[in-house]
Symmetry: C2
DNA sequence: ATTCCGATTGACTGATTAGTCAGTTTCTTG
DNA sequence: CAAGAAACTGACTAATCAGTCAATCGGAAT
């Protein structure tokens, strides 16, 4: 693993344990096994590091989830695939999950930033279609997207809190139905 | 307003703008119009201040919401009253809302702390009843509670983002139905 | 009037931290 | 190989911040 990646990974772990301000850059470098100076070679400021991490996670989430949606699936199938992939990704990458959670409630986060991302755009396209053909409730698409995202986060947090994994298909479906029912007409 | 309260109010505003670590105690005292030392007279450490603020908000939320639920209401009516009261409270007290959001994603927050609160206990009682008599889905009560809380938060954030208030009853109902449908069988 | 005690002040400190920089090593390319 | 560029080091600094403390104030009780 190159030093840049090693720094991002270490930062993600420390941030998720101690928060952005609770983690000194010197400590990130030390635990990553590199010098203090090299951190600022790759990331001129701490802010740049944090924002780079955000896009790093969102990109990988996009690649992981969207690759699983197949053409010709019904709307519910597509949403289910996205939902399940997102839950899995967050369970398998707990530091990514905690980092994003903190980032999105921090003053760093601006909605405009998020809007630009492919992941959000893809979801909004799906949702628009769902509203048009009457499968989704008559509610602003952005609210449906935010609601779905919140449900996924809640599901992941619940599973983690109870040290559960998605090995029971029947239970997994029941969890998804919660999210689906809130969107469906 | 006494100095203790003034400090809590000022801290809430600054925390919601700049986060816990982005706000110096000296700045809280200054903007509250009191001396630096008096902050540490009332709150021995910054942590104590933050936790005191958390219970302050939760207590007021409890008083505001629970007072509106009337005996003899159906389950759906009770949940609606709680939902609406919580949304209103958060819209009317934006600094409380932002503070709690940050607190609950910070390392300060432990689920056990929350569990002790009357507000949570009351909600869980209602939910238990709903599951028993088959009105709610067969899903762990804690997940239903967390899901409802997340939906309320999402609703408030959406309304704020679009500079909306709950003046349109028909639209308000449609928002509530989203939350309700995810819980109801 | 005097004593007492909590409220209040604000200058101060020790610790921590983001970011710098002068210099060294390693890689690349003609 | 030479030489320039890029990666890398770690000691250093200026600034910031949580928390301290010695001193003052003001009101209540005796």
């Amino acid at each position: 693993m190159d030093k840049r990646t090693k720094l991002i990974e270490t930062a993600k772990r420390l941030f998720s344990e101690n928060g952005f301000y609770g983690t000194a850059t010197a400590r990130i470098a030390k635990e990553a096994g590199v010098s203090n100076g090299i951190l600022f070679h790759y990331f001129p400021t701490k802010d740049v590091l944090i924002k780079a991490m955000y896009f790093d996670v969102k990109d990988r989430l996009f690649d992981y989830t969207v690759g699983q949606v197949y053409k010709g699936a019904t709307l519910k199938e597509s949403i289910y695939t996205l939902w399940l992939a997102a839950v899995e990704f967050n369970l398998e990458n707990p530091n990514d999950f905690e980092f994003i959670r903190q980032f999105e409630t921090s003053p760093y986060y601006l909605t405009e930033t998020e809007l630009e991302h492919r992941y959000v755009q893809l979801c909004l396209e799906l949702i628009d279609k769902g509203i048009e053909d009457g499968q989704f409730k008559q509610i602003p698409p952005m609210l449906i997207f935010k609601s779905l995202s919140a449900q996924i986060e809640t599901t992941v947090r619940f599973l983690k809190m109870n040290k559960m994994v998605l090995d029971n298909v029947e239970f997994t479906h029941r969890l998804f139905e919660m999210s689906w029912d809130s969107l469906a007409k």
